[in-house]
C-alpha cells in the first residue's frame, strides 16, 4: 500500500465488498423472479380455482332449489360480500334478477351449459366511495331455463400487492448494491490506512527504533488487538535488548574489574625478585579470583539460557516435597547462624516445574536470608496453595530492602551498597526471577517479620498450581 490513491482497490476488504455486491445483485434478481413466480402465478391459479368452485356451488344451488334458490344465494352473497366475487344474474331476455352491473358486460353464450371465460372491466366503488376501473376475470353460463349467470373475480387488488413488493425489491436492490460498494470502499480505505500505519511502524522498528508503538484507536477491533499484540511484542523485544545491553555493561564492569585486579597483582608480583612463598600466595589468590570470575560467567550463562527459555524441563512436581527437602537441607545452617528456622508447608502442592531450577531458586533465597539476618533472628518458610496459585515464601528478620530498591535488586548484578561487603555475584535474585518467569510465575518482595530497625524481607514466589 505504498503508492496510488486508489491502491485500496487492491485490498482484500474491497475485493470482498465487490464480491458481496455482485452476490447481492444476483440474490435480488433471484428474489424478484421468485416472488413473481411464486405469488403472481399462484394467485392467478388460486383465483381461477376459487372462481370455478363458486360457479359449481351456485350451479348446485340452482339444481337443488331452482332459480329461486339461486336468487336467494346470490342476494345473501351480495349482502355479505365475501371474497372478491361479483355476480350478475339475468333472465333469458336480459332482465336483471340479481347483480352489481346495469347489464351483462359481455355477450352470453347461446348454448345451454357452456361456460365461457370472459375478461372485462368494471367500475367499482372504492372504500372512500370514489369509483375505480377494475379488471375482472369471469365465467358466464346459460342455464337450461335460459337465464344467464355471470360470476367474476377481481384480480387487481391481489396483483397490486405483488407489484408493490416487486417494485420495492427492484428499487432496493440497486441501493443495496451501491451501499455494499460504498461500504467496501470505506472499510477498504480504513483497513488500508491502518495497515499503512503498521507498515510505517514496522519499517521504523526494522531501522532500529524500538521505542515505536502502534497506535491503539480504541475501536476494539482486530486491528486494535493486532496493535496491542504488536506493542506487547515490541515491548518484550525492547526489554530483552535493553536487558542484554545492561548485562553487557554489567559483565564489562563485574568481570573487567576483577580481571584488571588480577592483572595488576600478577604484574606486581613480576616486579623484582620472586621468592617461592609470595609466588605461591599470589597464585593461590589468583586461582580464587579466577574461580569467582568463572562462577559469575556460569551465572550469566545460566541466566541468559533461562531467559531465552533454553534451560529447564517442566514436569509435574511435588513442590511440598521439594520445599521440605530444601528446608531440611538449610535448617542446620540456619541454627548454626543463630537463627530460628520454622516452616509451614502445605501438603501435596503440585506445579509444572523443573526440580533443579526451583531448588536452586529456593536455595538462593534461603541463602540470602541466612546471610543477611543478624543472629537471634528468624526465618520462616511457607508454602500455600490458594485459588490456583502455589505461593512459596521466605521471610527473614534482616535489614530488608527499601521499597524503592525492590524492583532494582532483581536486575542482574545489582547489589545494594550494604551487600557489597558480603560474598556474592549479584545474580542470585535475578536467577530466582528468571526461574519464576520460566514457570509462568511471579517474584515479589515485601517487608518481612522484623522490627522497625530490621524490617526483614519476605520473598514470595507465586507459581500456577496444578490439581
Amino acid at each position: 500500500m505504498r503508492s496510488g490513491r486508489f491502491a485500496f482497490v487492491r485490498t482484500t476488504t474491497f475485493r470482498l465488498a465487490l464480491v458481496y455486491a455482485v452476490l447481492f445483485a444476483l440474490f435480488s434478481a433471484g428474489l424478484i423472479s421468485y416472488l413473481f413466480q411464486a405469488t403472481v402465478v399462484s394467485i392467478r391459479a388460486e383465483a381461477k380455482s376459487q372462481l370455478e368452485a363458486e360457479l359449481r356451488t351456485l350451479a348446485i344451488a340452482r339444481q337443488t332449489g331452482g332459480a329461486v334458490r339461486l336468487e336467494q344465494s346470490l342476494i345473501e352473497r351480495a349482502l355479505v360480500r365475501v371474497r372478491d366475487f361479483t355476480y350478475q344474474f339475468e333472465t333469458a331476455t336480459g332482465e336483471r334478477i340479481v347483480g352489481d352491473m346495469p347489464g351483462m358486460p359481455v355477450e352470453a353464450p347461446d348454448e345451454v351449459g357452456e361456460v365461457r371465460v370472459v375478461h372485462f372491466e368494471l367500475e367499482m366503488p372504492q372504500v372512500d366511495g370514489s369509483p375505480i376501473i377494475t379488471p375482472i376475470e369471469g365465467r358466464i353460463v346459460r342455464m337450461e331455463d335460459g337465464t344467464v349467470l355471470l360470476v367474476g373475480i377481481e384480480m387487481d387488488q391481489r396483483l397490486r400487492i405483488v407489484g408493490q413488493i416487486t417494485r420495492a425489491v427492484a428499487t432496493a436492490a440497486p441501493i443495496g448494491i451501491l451501499l455494499a460498494l460504498l461500504g467496501g470502499f470505506f472499510s477498504a480505505r480504513y483497513a488500508a490506512r491502518r495497515a499503512e500505519t503498521l507498515t510505517t511502524i514496522t519499517d521504523a522498528v526494522m531501522s532500529g527504533d524500538l521505542t515505536q508503538r502502534v497506535p491503539v484507536v480504541g475501536s476494539g477491533d482486530e486491528f486494535d488487538r493486532l496493535a496491542e499484540q504488536l506493542n506487547a511484542m515490541l515491548a518484550r523485544i525492547e526489554n530483552l535488548i535493553s536487558a542484554t545491553r545492561h548485562a553487557g555493561d554489567a559483565i564489562a564492569h563485574d568481570l573487567r574489574s576483577p580481571l584488571s585486579r588480577l592483572r595488576n597483582r600478577i604484574e606486581g608480583a613480576l616486579i623484582g625478585p620472586i621468592d617461592e612463598v609470595t609466588a605461591r600466595e599470589t597464585l593461590g589468590i589468583t586461582v580464587e579470583e579466577i574461580d569467582h570470575i568463572l562462577l559469575t560467567f556460569d551465572g550469566i550463562l545460566r541466566l541468559s539460557r533461562l531467559s531465552a527459555g533454553a534451560e529447564g524441563k517442566l514436569a509435574r512436581l511435588n513442590l511440598s516435597d521439594l520445599a521440605s527437602e530444601i528446608s531440611e537441607l538449610f535448617e542446620p545452617a540456619c541454627e548454626d547462624a543463630g537463627l530460628l528456622f520454622s516452616e509451614a508447608i502445605a501438603d501435596r502442592v503440585h506445579v509444572m516445574g523443573d526440580k533443579t531450577l526451583l531448588a536452586q531458586a529456593l536455595s538462593n533465597v534461603l541463602d540470602n536470608a541466612v546471610k543477611y539476618s543478624p543472629p537471634g533472628g528468624q526465618i520462616v518458610l511457607k508454602l500455600k496453595a490458594q485459588s490456583g496459585r502455589a505461593s512459596l515464601s521466605v521471610a527473614d528478620t534482616g535489614p530488608g530492602i527499601p521499597v524503592e530498591d525492590r524492583t532494582r535488586v532483581i536486575e542482574r548484578f545489582v547489589r545494594l551498597d550494604d551487600a557489597r561487603t558480603k560474598q556474592g555475584s549479584g545474580l542470585g535474585l535475578s536467577l530466582v526471577d528468571a526461574v519464576a518467569d520460566l514457570h509462568s510465575g511471579t517474584l515479589s518482595l515485601q517487608s518481612g517479620d522484623g522490627d522497625s530497625e530490621n524490617p526483614g524481607l519476605k520473598v514470595i514466589m507465586s507459581l500456577p498450581a496444578m490439581d
Binding site: L294, K313, L329, F330, D336, T356, A359, S363, K371
Partner: protein, 224 residues
C-alpha cells in the same frame, strides 16, 4: 589407579594428567574419540575420563559404542555444559558420573577415585558396613560405635552410609548433595558442612579417635 583421559584440549588434558598424577594415579591421554574408544577396549583401565566435545567421535557416541561393545570400565563425563538435561543425557549414554567444567582439582580426584570403587561386584549385597569400630547394619538400620548405640535421623543415616561406602576416600560437598540429597545445584553456602558437623558430633564427639576428617579445600573423608 590406571586412568584414561580422552580430551582434545591438550592444555586441559595436561592439567588433568598432572592433577590425577599428583594424586598418585597412572594417567594416559588420547585426543580423539575414535582413538579413545580403541584404547579403552584394548587395555583394562580402572576409570575413564571423557570430554563430551571430541573430534572424530563425540563423547556421547563414543560412550554408547563402548558400552554396547561390552565395555565395563567406569567412566566420568567432563563437559562445559552443566544443565541437568545434559547430565542426564551423559548418564544415559553409559557414563557413571558427570562433572561440569570448570572444576576444582580435588573434585575431579574425589570423583575419579569414587569411580574406581564402583567396579562391579559379584558378591552378595552388603548388609553391614564397618569402618574401624563404627558399624552400620543396613537391615535393622542400627548404628553402633564401640558397641554404643548411636541414634541418627534418616538423612544423617543416609549421609553416614554414603561416607562409609566410600571410606578412606575423599568425598566432596557437591558429591554429597548429589548422592545423599539427590539435588544437582550449587547451594553456595556451607549447608553441607553443617550437616557433617552434626553427624560428627554424634559419631566422633565422645571418642578419642576422630573418624570423620575434613580434607582441606576438597571435602570429607571417613577413615578408620
Amino acid at each position: 589407579m590406571r586412568v584414561l583421559v580422552i580430551e582434545d584440549d591438550l592444555e586441559h588434558a595436561d592439567f588433568i594428567q598432572r592433577v590425577l598424577g599428583d594424586a598418585g594415579h597412572q594417567v594416559e591421554t588420547v585426543a580423539d574419540g575414535q582413538g579413545g574408544l580403541s584404547k579403552a577396549r584394548a587395555i583394562e583401565y580402572d576409570a575413564l575420563v571423557v570430554d563430551r566435545m571430541l573430534p572424530e567421535k563425540p563423547g556421547l557416541v563414543m560412550m554408547k559404542e563402548f558400552r554396547n561393545g561390552g565395555g565395563k570400565t567406569p567412566a566420568l563425563f567432563l563437559s562445559a555444559l552443566s544443565d541437568v538435561d545434559n547430565r542426564v543425557e551423559g548418564l544415559r549414554a553409559g557414563a557413571d558420573d558427570y562433572l561440569a567444567k570448570p572444576f576444582a582439582p580435588e573434585e575431579l580426584i574425589a570423583r575419579v577415585e569414587a569411580l574406581g570403587r564402583r567396579q562391579p561386584q559379584d558378591e552378595a549385597p552388603v548388609t553391614k558396613l564397618t569402618v574401624g569400630d563404627l558399624e552400620m547394619d543396613l537391615l535393622s538400620r542400627r548404628v553402633e560405635r564401640n558397641g554404643q548405640r548411636i541414634d541418627l535421623q534418616p538423612r544423617e543415616f543416609k549421609l553416614l552410609e554414603f561416607l562409609m561406602r566410600h571410606a578412606g576416600q575423599t568425598v566432596t560437598r557437591t558429591m554429597l548433595l548429589e548422592k545423599v540429597w539427590n539435588y544437582h545445584f550449587d547451594p553456595q553456602t556451607n549447608v553441607i558442612d553443617v550437616h557433617i558437623s552434626r553427624l560428627r558430633a554424634k559419631i566422633d564427639k565422645e571418642f578419642d579417635r576422630q573418624l570423620l576428617q575434613t580434607v582441606r579445600g576438597a571435602g570429607y573423608c571417613l577413615q578408620a
